[in-house]
Amino acid sequence: MTSKTFRQSLSRFWVANAVPVMFVVLIAFAIPLSGFSANYLVGEVITRLGRDSFLVLSLLIPIMAGMGLNFGMVLGAMAGQIGIILVTNWGMTGVGGLCVAMAVGTPLAILLGWAAGVVLNHAKGREMVTSLILGYFINGVYQLVVLYIMGKIIPISNSAIVLSRGYGIRNAIDLKTMRQSLDRLIPLKIDGIQIPVATFIVIALLCLFIWWFGKTKLGHDMRAVGQDMKVAEEAGIKVERTRIIAIIISTVLACYGQIIFLQNIGTLNTYNSHDQTATFAVAALLIGGASVARASIPNVFIGVILFHTMFVVSPTAGKQLMGSAMIGEYFRVFVSYGVIALSIVLYAWKRVKEREQSRSSLRGDQDQ
């Protein structure tokens, strides 16, 4: 390998991995500042890998179909929460309760995902901003259902989850028996660290599914649609239908992901649990080295590890550095939004450059 190609491949590595490398450096500074023990940090990161990976994985398929980061995954999260609320109302417990919650959430998530897919088909080229606002819109509908319709039209018999006025769901629901029921289904403790074995198995199965899905006919179609909708259409692929399926799968996975997330946390904040779901999932994926157009399974896990390490250490690091834990908390929110802004800017920039290049290649006297 000559030095020139080495430098080229080095710069290519840098361009492709600038964000994760920056984060590794950032965390390398922040960990000693925070003063946490290695044991504590590893435990936290393992917990959070179990809690969040499923949600982040749900973003992969729409990216494959060229629809960008699916901020509309909150639709699925809300479907999952409605499942959890109903299951709590019916008094179901443990892993069985979680499964029923998923079963209840699935048709809702399919319906919402289908609607989102149809909307996004009308907004080609600006899927991301549309899916973001669509998430806000459906959040309004969700609040209408949970705050006014539940207890009035949908019967809720469990008075522990109903507001004192007689209808509407309380702000916080304690998921007593469902709490960490999946995480602790197969108990394993190493060096005092609880390993959520069953959750990891579920996540591994999902990875297998996504890997297998990429090899099916539908997976190939999606990639083709992601490459170029026009060419795919001419090749006989039903573009709009394929895009809707991608969003439905993502929404259903986000529904399951949110249920796994909630069983780990142990409390459902009825009106806030889903607020930051999409932001944090997207930020984690991007920190893992993904872009708007390309994301892989390793990106997910690298991202979750880096993002959540930063999340754990930044308040205490902020306290050490600036004398205030709030600074650290604001910092991690800033990083989440900042990294999303940076990634979409870089991606859009690249796209503009490519467009300019293809235009200049049409001109006669080019010297490339």
Binding site: V119, F137, M322, S324, I327, Y330, S336, Y337, A348
Partner: protein
């Protein structure tokens, strides 16, 4: 029959539905014991509070930069102006106009940088604007804690550092525009003349600007960039000017809002302030790439009217507070609707 159809086509279904909804709310108001004069006052005041922010949408839409979801950037410039004005102890009219003056350089500078950024990402402006807004708000959250402010009205009492989340304008420039030449009729009706005049002035400046040579060139850039370039217009420069204008209007708009509201809201306050402004201009009949002052005026009246009337009327009618939910559904529903209208021109 055909004339009704053309009228509907011209006004657009969303505007008609929302207009009818507002009308029925006003008609229903006396039946449930809500005072019409009080409601009218509230609607007019809220129109004045939000009007300038909505005007700020126009320049960017007109040059094809899309809806300005990055409005929080302008709001931040306004907040810097407001806090500096309080820090310097300016009160009364000097306080308000001092705040405007102090906000302007920040707005121009931030708007200019924001404009340069948007020129490099043509086609994806709206998504990037959203996240530029979010990340600058969260960046400023840190800054509000770190910047060396001293005024005891603004700084946290116990720590001695960091600004409060809400700062009262009592004793500074509370209602400075609202009360200027205000007309009171009876107990419950007050017309905030000063604020409406200020809105009219800002609208007139916008209108006049779009009739200058630069303003016309800006409209040309929005409706057909290639044609504009061919006729010697510097497209990027026009876009930058429009972004600066939008940001300046955002900065001034938030100051008008605050003097009526009575508080400066820092930290997470500006996070979602772009959405109501975006929704208002869309309800007024604007699209992703066409907007004018009439759209802003009609849209703000309709949207703020709905927001004023739903809590009072619906709460009295069914005894539950639906206002927040109605606000979210109407504003975000309207934005989603507008984003799905086809605007193939830009390719």
């Amino acid at each position: 029959m055909t004339s009704i159809r053309t009228l509907i086509d011209k006004a657009g279904w969303p505007r008609i539905i929302i207009g009818l909804l507002l009308l029925s709310l006003f008609l229903a108001a006396p039946a449930v014991g809500v005072r019409i004069d009080q409601s009218l006052t509230d609607t007019i005041v809220r129109f004045g509070m939000n009007g300038v922010l909505v005007l700020g949408m126009i320049p960017m839409v007109q040059t094809g930069c899309g809806l300005n979801f990055g409005l929080p950037l302008g709001i931040i410039a306004g907040l810097l102006g407001a806090t500096l004005s309080i820090e310097f102890g300016l009160t009364g009219a000097a306080g308000f106009f001092g705040a405007v003056g102090l906000a302007l350089p920040f707005a121009v500078l931030l708007g200019w940088g924001y404009g340069l950024l948007l020129n490099r990402v043509k086609g994806d402006e709206m998504m990037i604007a959203t996240y530029v807004g979010f990340s600058s708000v969260s960046f400023m959250c840190m800054m509000w804690m770190l910047l060396p402010y001293h005024s005891p009205t603004m700084v946290w009492g116990y720590g001695g550092t960091g600004l409060r989340t809400t700062i009262s304008l009592e004793g500074f420039w509370l209602h400075i525009l609202d009360d200027f030449l205000a007309i009171r009729i009876g107990q419950n009706f007050k017309f905030p003349t000063g604020m409406i005049l200020f809105f009219a002035l800002m609208a007139f400046i916008m209108w006049a600007f779009f009739h200058t040579k630069t303003g016309t060139a800006m409209t040309a850039v929005g409706s057909n960039p290639d044609y504009a370039r061919a006729s010697g217009v510097n497209v990027d420069r026009m876009r930058t000017i429009s972004v600066v204008m939008s940001t300046v209007y955002g900065a001034i708009g938030i100051l008008v809002y605050q003097q009526s509201f009575g508080f400066v809201q820092l930290y997470n306050g500006p996070f979602f302030m772009a959405l109501p402004a975006v929704a208002a201009i869309l309800i007024g009949g604007a699209s992703v790439n066409k907007a004018n002052i009439t759209n802003a005026v009609i849209g703000t009246v309709l949207f703020q009217g709905i927001l004023t009337m739903t809590p009072s009327v619906i709460n009295s009618a069914i005894q539950s507070d639906l206002s927040e939910v109605v606000r979210i559904i109407v504003s975000d529903g309207m934005i989603v609707y507008a984003l799905t209208r086809s605007t193939r021109k830009s390719r």
